[in-house]
């Protein structure tokens, strides 16, 4: 249940928020005029250049989880969040760089496309598409919770209304222009949020003396807050499992594959991951330091919060000046909507490309475009409804879907794109086994004994993959027929 955070309505914040929504709606309308066919809608006509692709990836990557959730996480556990989560994410971006040549060469549009192509089993398309839909839908809820919590806090408009306002706006502009609208709004949003987070940290440093002073005071609150393992709270096994879980999400998220497909060639695909890796790793370092500054500022000012997700919103409303507050709000809204629209766009393409077209292989492009748009509206509206009363905090949901994605897809899919003789049935079974065991053990308490759920899921997936391959290929030389669609 969302805690209502009392806050006085601030007309400057409300005006900035309304202008922001009108601007992205305008870009969405413009994107609609540039969308001629379903390939434009899904993957920008595969014509995205290096600059747009890089900044669009940055914008897509940084979300309400990053800004609201990560700062909330630092408020609770300090800089150890850098060790187990941010490090894993950044390693994942670079890891994907090293396989993107092969991925782009396959010329697939979605992750299920890649799975079907490498296994030869078209049934893998709706199966994996369903897992990705579940992930995309969870992510949408997280984004909406973060956005609405923030805007409710800063504008004073009740949460249950604000969640619908934001939900409807991002549904409209995403459904109008697909990836064309999403990418161009991303470009603007990425630049705004990177600049604004840097400005916010500079403001906090000048306000509190120096970075050293902030960290010294952070350590004085609790020395564990500036320790890589929170002074032993996180064991090496837990840290390793979390790094693997977040490393894996970079390879297995539908929107990452869609973006790779949207680049115009391998060079662009490599540049966008190389450039985004540098920008994001610096950005997240700044953001985590800002989390430390936020914690010190709030606690020193007697503004401590019960809900960690409320830490950053309270800093904006009750600590910084209105001018800095407006800058930060635009950044946070950019971070939130840029990720939300991408995930929403992914649910549309997953439904139409990976599930609907499996059952209706002769569907026309016009029909697929319509299915994409209907699915976009459906998942957007249902996620908005669920966000009114979300099932957990932002970070809890974020970790849950990381375990699900990595357990299901990381090893089966990426082993399969290089091990071309791998039995397709073994790959599909490993995906199902990894998903069920990874998610099941996570929901049941986080693992089996001392083994974290990520390792259970990934371990089961690799065992099934190897056992299935050798058993099936020894009894029958069958595997799938590699498709070339």
């Amino acid at each position: 249940m969302i805690d209502q955070i009392p806050g006085d309505a601030n007309p400057y914040y409300l005006a900035a928020f309304v202008l922001y929504l009108l601007l992205v709606l305008g870009i969405g309308l413009w994107g609609y005029t540039k969308t001629d066919d379903v390939m434009d809608f899904w993957v920008f006509g595969q014509e995205m250049g290096p600059t747009l692709a890089t900044w669009s990836l940055v914008a897509n990557f940084v979300s309400s989880v990053s800004v609201i959730g990560f700062i909330g996480a630092v408020y609770v556990e300090g800089y150890s969040f850098m060790t187990h989560t941010i490090f894993g994410l950044m390693l994942g971006v670079s890891g994907l760089y090293f396989v993107v040549g092969r991925v782009r060469e396959l010329n697939v549009l979605t992750l299920p496309d890649m799975i079907a192509k490498t296994t030869g089993y078209e049934i893998a398309r709706p199966i994996s598409g369903s897992v990705l839909l579940a992930n995309g839908w969870l992510y949408l809820i997280m984004q909406l919770v973060g956005a609405s919590l923030l805007v409710t806090t800063i504008t004073g408009v009740p949460y249950e209304y604000m969640v619908w306002v934001i939900g409807v706006v991002f549904i409209i502009y995403t459904v109008l222009g697909g990836l064309v609208s999403v990418a161009w709004t991303d470009l603007l949003q990425a630049v705004v949020m990177v600049c604004a987070v840097v400005i916010a940290l500079v403001y906090m440093i000048s306000d509190m003396g120096s970075l050293t002073a902030i960290n010294t005071e952070f350590a004085a609150l609790d020395s564990a807050m500036v320790h890589p393992t929170h002074e032993g709270t996180y064991t090496a096994l837990m840290i390793a499992a979390t790094i693997v879980a977040f490393f894996g999400t970079i390879f297995t998220e539908q929107n990452m594959l869609v973006r790779i497909a949207a680049t115009k060639d391998v060079r662009t695909a490599k540049i966008h991951l190389a450039g985004a890796g540098v920008i994001l790793s610096v950005f997240y370092s700044v953001l985590i330091l800002l989390g430390g500054a936020t914690t010190v500022a709030l606690l020193d000012s007697g503004l401590g919060v019960d809900d960690p997700d409320a830490a950053f919103p309270v800093l904006i409303t009750d600590y910084v000046s209105t001018g800095i507050g407006v800058v930060i709000i635009l950044a946070v809204m950019s971070a939130i909507l840029s990720t939300t629209d991408t995930r929403l766009h992914s649910t549309g393409i997953t439904t139409a490309r990976d599930i609907y077209s499996y059952f209706k292989p002769d569907a026309s492009e016009r029909r697929l475009m319509r299915v994409s748009r209907v699915a976009t509206v459906f998942f957007g509206v249902t996620a908005t409804a669920a966000a009114v009363n979300p099932p957990g905090t932002i970070i809890e949901l974020y970790q849950l879907r990381a375990v699900l994605l990595t357990s299901a897809f990381l090893l089966p899919v990426y082993v399969a794109i290089y091990w071309t003789d791998l039995d397709g049935r073994a790959v599909v079974t490993a995906i199902i086994g990894g998903a069920v065991l990874g998610l099941g053990t996570d929901l049941a308490g986080g693992g089996i004994g001392a083994i974290p759920s990520t390792f259970v899921g990934v371990g089961v997936a690799i065992l099934i993959l190897l056992a299935g391959h050798y058993l099936l290929s020894s009894s029958d030389k069958g595997g799938g027929v590699v498709t070339n669609n």
């Binding site: 760089y97 090293f98 060469e105 960290n215 350590a219 890589p228 540049i271 890796g277």
Partner: protein, 65 residues
């Protein structure tokens, strides 16, 4: 021992994270910019353009004399 007010080990995690995110950029600059190695799709084009006129003709292409 502290750096910027945090223990050395914590500072090292920040540095390691920036390096982890920059591995792709290092590879791109060294391999593709400095050493000039072609990309996968360019490599295929380079092989094709290096074929003799007979090979091009076999694929149905035109040969300029």
């Amino acid at each position: 021992m502290t750096i910027l007010g945090m223990p050395e080990a914590m500072f090292a995690v920040f540095v390691a994270t920036i390096l982890a995110g920059s591995l792709g950029a290092f590879h791109y600059v060294i391999v593709h910019v400095l050493l000039g190695k072609p990309f996968r799709d360019e490599a295929e084009t380079a092989v094709t353009s290096g074929d003799g006129p007979e090979a091009i003709a076999e694929r149905g292409g035109e040969v300029d004399d």
